[in-house]
């Protein structure tokens, strides 16, 4: 167990001036299960891209540092080279051909061909591609690979229609079947598995490790990491925080390390006194947003508060706002301001007084070729019939009022532009975001959804946007802010709901310890101390802290 199979030495990687990995040193021993933990953007995927020599690394100027395989420096230029060296990867999104059988998928491009009879002749003339497949031999290989994992999948089933869990095993079987496999990278393999399937997978991983295959195990479920791995490495913001033996650590410590203790929270106001009335009630919301699926969210929003929605990417936090507005198919019970809100109809949601600033600024948020003033007025014109004048049967837009409104907004929000007629596509990210907010404000909403307001914006502009949201909340607007950046949620929100696996894992105070955030994001909400949380649903008589903790903790578990 002591020899190092793979060593990352002083790995540093810049993406156009942005350092995503700083001096990372990791040793992977042969036959160990090495867990890799970190938030989104911690550098896990960049590190794996370097390991596999992905084109994205080499087209952006390569990386600094050395990778050593068996103590010898290696220079991996392409995924195929990595494959030749015995490094295999199981991707998060399946690389399986749905119409093929399990065997065909396991042996893809490594099919066994016959070398007898007619094939001898055709090989001489046309090469080995015109040789018939030896299906019995292929099936035998597939069965062998599946048996290594002790999983009962029949090799002749077609992948289409199989349970997702089984597809995961087929992926792994394909990697195992490669004869020289020595290192296997599993990227979030348990994300799609049920609890019992995850157990089977961990069991299979142990079997493989016993056979001498090293495994890099990337997962956000900390309890599984402590159950499965031998050692664990924590990355945060591109830096190596620690590498530890799993037996010397625990879930709480890992959660704390992952989120980071040293986050400074510059809260301007300690507490905002909301009126306490519930403005929005969400019950059992399901949203079919690809990659951000929501499966059963219960949440209440109080009038006048800033509610933060956080969580790791892909867990469903972005799906909530998108589903409520009606951009994706959704079902559930939503009551806004005492009236039920029908889902799946954006016009209806907007006209009832909800405004939405999308996380997809350039795709959904703005008409990039149009001037600022039109972008600001657009939704109000469509939904509220503002800025319009009727002449006979025709309606024209009212240029003066649009201009006046735009000037007001540019001044209020400090949008840096040459004039109100400048196309928004020419503005910087921060100013584009301000235009989005200006458009939402022009609708005079009672509830504002803001998703990822600071994504792709420089630090100075971030501060401005957050200050703007605070100012709006002070003026009495209710804001629901979804963000991947925990620090900014903690700096301005009154309550923070953490979404894990499509459900609310819990609602935390902004000054709750970092470890609690980490635990909730990792599906271990049951370890969070009760005094730092709010109940999901505000009890009818009061919403005082600590009044009701009914179903906390049971929500975070896997389905």
């Amino acid at each position: 167990m002591s020899t190092n199979l793979l060593s990352f030495k002083n790995i540093t990687k810049n993406y156009s001036g942005n350092t995503v990995l700083k001096n990372v040193n990791i040793d992977i021993r042969s036959g160990e299960i090495h867990a890799l933990v970190g938030e989104n953007g911690a550098g896990k995927s960049t590190l794996m891209n370097i390991l596999f020599g992905m084109p994205v690394i080499h087209s952006t100027g390569g990386f600094e540092g050395v990778m050593e395989l068996d103590g010898k420096a290696v220079d991996i230029k392409s995924p195929f080279q990595a494959m030749d060296m015995g490094v295999g990867m199981v991707h998060q999104e399946f690389m399986l051909i749905p119409g093929f059988t399990v065997t065909e998928n396991i042996k893809i491009n490594r099919e066994i061909t016959r070398d007898t009879g007619l094939n001898k002749v055709t090989k001489k003339i046309f090469g080995s591609r015109i040789q018939t497949l030896d299906r019995p031999a292929m099936s035998a290989d597939a069965v062998k690979a599946l048996e290594t994992m002790e999983i009962g999948i029949e090799e002749f089933t077609v992948v289409k229609g199989m349970p997702v869990g089984h597809m995961q095993f087929v992926e792994i079987a394909r990697e195992i079947d490669k004869t020289n496999i020595r290192l296997l990278v599993l990227d979030e393999p348990t994300a799609v598995l049920t609890e019992s399937e995850a157990e089977t997978l961990i069991h299979a991983m142990r079997n493989l490790a016993k056979k001498g295959i090293s495994i890099i195990f990337i997962s956000h479920r900390l309890d599984e990491i402590t159950a499965a791995s031998d050692r664990v490495t924590v990355l945060r913001d591109g830096e190596l925080i620690i590498t530890k033996d799993t037996k010397d650590t625990n879930v709480i410590e890992l959660a704390e390390l992952m989120v980071g203790r040293g986050v400074s929270i510059d809260r301007v106001i300690a507490d905002r006194a909301g009126s306490g009335d519930v403005i929005l009630t969400i019950k059992d919301l399901h949203v079919a947003m690809p990659g951000e699926r929501v499966s059963g969210v219960d949440l209440e929003v109080r009038k006048g508060e800033i509610l933060g929605i956080g969580g790791l990417a892909g867990q469903g936090k972005l799906g909530i706002a998108n589903g409520l507005i009606g951009l994706y198919q959704a079902k559930g019970e939503v009551v806004f301001d005492g009236k039920p809100l029908p889902l799946g109809n954006a016009r209806n949601a907007l006209s009832s007084g909800i405004a939405y600033v999308s996380e997809d600024r350039k795709g959904v948020g703005l008409l990039l070729e149009e001037p600022i003033e039109l972008n600001i007025a657009f939704t109000s014109m469509q939904i509220h019939n503002k800025f319009l004048q009727s002449i006979g049967p025709f309606r024209f837009y009212h240029a003066q009022s649009i201009r006046a409104n735009a000037r007001q907004m540019i001044e209020d929000l400090d949008i840096r532009c040459t004039s109100a007629l400048q196309p928004v596509g020419r503005l910087s990210g921060g100013n584009q975001q301000k235009v989005c907010v200006a458009r939402a404000l022009t609708q005079k909403p009672r509830l504002l959804f803001v998703s990822e307001p600071t994504r792709g914006i420089d630090i100075g502009a971030k501060k401005l946007i957050l200050d703007l949201l605070l100012k709006l909340a002070d003026q009495g607007m209710t804001i629901v802010m979804t963000s991947s950046e925990l620090a900014e949620l903690r700096s301005i929100c009154d309550r923070i709901a953490i979404i894990c696996e499509g459900k609310v894992a819990g609602i935390l105070k902004p000054d709750a310890p970092a470890a609690d955030f980490g635990l909730m994001m990792s599906g271990a909400a049951d370890l969070v101390k009760e005094e730092t949380t709010f109940p999901h649903v505000i009890p009818p008589d009061s919403f005082a802290v600590g009044a009701d903790f009914g179903n906390l903790g049971t929500e975070g578990g896997a389905e």
Partner: protein, 497 residues
């Protein structure tokens, strides 16, 4: 998996909606026609089947050439027109020189196949390169590039021949000289001369004998595929051997004399022998593999019933010497050539290359990351298609007897695409069964359209031709629309709650 029967039937109907629709129209056309112009069903059926057998084999290669690009994910290759152009160029060259060389028909035919091969490979390679540049838009690119190629072809044979390249003014394929004594371009129609029927007429056998041979071949195919699926028993080779003996016997018998009853008995024995094989293997492997008989039960029994039915139909007509014996004789050599191609393509699909076609067709991305050279595979698929289309055009023209220089190639793409779609193929799914069903059903349709036109529009001249093109474009539109609708539905059900 756990679908109820009614759901399964619904899915089956939805999958085969185009086939069912056109089967319905064909049957309607035949019944409503009232026996055609003569009003006599005997005469009508004789001409119907005579036409059908000619048309099916005339177009067989052209339609089958569409199969591989569909499997490799390129969609319907409208670019087969380019293959047809390659073939026509070669044929024009041969016709020009035939005036001086005087080869035999079959020699000229084989030379046309041989010479069109390198030209079609070159054109296919270029088309494939283009398809790789316009991924996702192959069909429209294929259509447009066909128009472009036809333009170049016109330029060459209307103008360059005679104006740039010096030609013999007296050659029968060159347009007559104008007032200034210049002979420029190739004539509008060129007679195929000795090449007419070069392969069709080598061996012709009575239609009913041909049906009998089809029944034997089909029975043999059933035995072979069913048994091979589970067991590589060497005894299974007895089945094709036995089929071969019977088929040869029938053909030789037909050549020798007119004792039709003996041939009928031979055909009956041929099919019966295959069925005995099937029973023998089924019982043998039932003991080894309890699932054996359950697999594909419905399609297996359908195939058995179909081939027995064909055999009984043939035996009845031969022994009773009915009017069906007056149907035009079937071109056996062309059928044989088609069978060889059929076997060759089945073989290709079983090789590594075939597996790569399928992988690339289902997901270019996954094929790419698995190390398959996607671009090369797609180019190979296009070359296959173009070469088969070129040969298909040679076969088409030797059957027609005349080459309409500036017109023959134009409808090849649309008509072949319509045929394979009628057979139940889609832009992402096609197999040999679709090809054969499509060939028969589509040509049955084209034969009955004049009758349908007569029912609705009376004897208006030209209306049948309009109805025919209406049908062709309608099929393509319908099949493509259905395909888009199905994909949309599938993606919706995938992303639903």
């Amino acid at each position: 998996m756990n679908n109820s029967n009614s759901e399964r039937i619904k899915a089956f109907l939805l999958d085969n909606i185009v086939v069912i629709l056109f089967l319905g129209i064909a049957i309607f056309g035949i019944t409503a026609s009232g026996g055609g112009i003569t009003g006599n069903y005997t005469v009508y059926f004789i001409s119907f089947f005579s036409e059908l057998i000619e048309r099916v084999f005339r177009n067989s290669f052209l339609v089958i050439s569409l199969m591989i690009p569909v499997i490799a994910g390129l969609g319907l290759n409208f670019g087969i027109v380019i293959g047809a152009i390659a073939a026509q160029s070669v044929i024009l060259l041969l016709r020009y020189h035939q005036f001086y060389l005087e080869m035999s028909g079959i020699a000229e035919f084989l030379l046309a196949l041989l010479l069109s091969l390198p030209l079609a490979i070159l054109f296919g390679w270029l088309t494939g390169k283009l398809y790789n540049k316009v991924r996702g838009q192959e069909m429209i690119a294929g259509m447009i590039v066909s128009y472009f190629a036809a333009g170049v072809y016109n330029l060459v044979f209307l103008f360059i021949v005679g104006y740039v390249i010096e030609v013999d003014k007296l050659n029968p394929i060159i347009a007559p000289a104008n007032l200034e004594g210049l002979a420029v371009g190739v004539r509008m129609t060129v007679d195929m001369g000795v090449m007419t029927g070069a392969i069709d007429n080598i061996i012709r056998i009575p239609f009913m004998f041909f049906i009998m041979i089809c029944a034997i071949t089909m029975a043999c195919y059933i035995v072979f595929t069913q048994v091979r699926k589970f067991n590589r028993d060497r005894k299974v080779l007895l089945s094709p051997l036995c089929a071969l003996v019977f088929i040869t016997a029938i053909v030789v018998w037909n050549g020798l004399g007119s004792m039709n009853r003996v041939a009928a008995v031979l055909g009956f024995l041929g099919v019966a022998a295959q069925m005995c094989f099937l029973l023998y293997f089924t019982f043998r492997h039932k003991r080894e593999n309890p699932d054996y008989t359950v697999q594909n039960k419905a399609s297996l029994s359908f195939n058995c019933v179909l081939c027995s039915g064909m055999m009984l139909w043939a035996v009845y007509n031969i022994i009773m010497n009915t009017f069906m014996m007056r149907v035009r004789q079937a071109p056996f050599a062309t059928a044989l050539l088609f069978a060889v191609l059929f076997i060759f393509l089945s073989y290709i699909m079983k090789t590594k290359l075939g597996q790569d076609f399928r992988a690339v067709g289902q997901s270019q991305h996954i094929a790419e990351v698995s190390g398959i050279n996607v671009k090369r595979t797609r180019i190979i698929a296009t070359i296959f298609s173009t070469v088969l289309a070129a040969w298909g055009m040679v076969i088409f023209l030797q059957n027609m007897g005349t080459l309409t220089t500036y017109d023959s190639h134009r409808h090849v793409g649309f008509f072949s695409v319509a045929a394979i779609l009628v057979g139940g193929a889609s832009t992402s799914r096609a197999n040999l069964r679709n090809v054969i069903t499509g060939l028969i059903l589509f040509h049955a349709m084209t034969i009955v359209t004049p009758d349908i036109a007569r029912i609705f529009f009376g004897d208006t001249p030209g209306v049948a031709e309009y109805l025919r093109s209406f049908m062709v474009y309608g099929v393509i539109g319908l099949a493509l629309g259905l395909y888009v609708w199905k994909t949309l539905k599938a993606s919706q059900s995938q992303n639903s709650l």
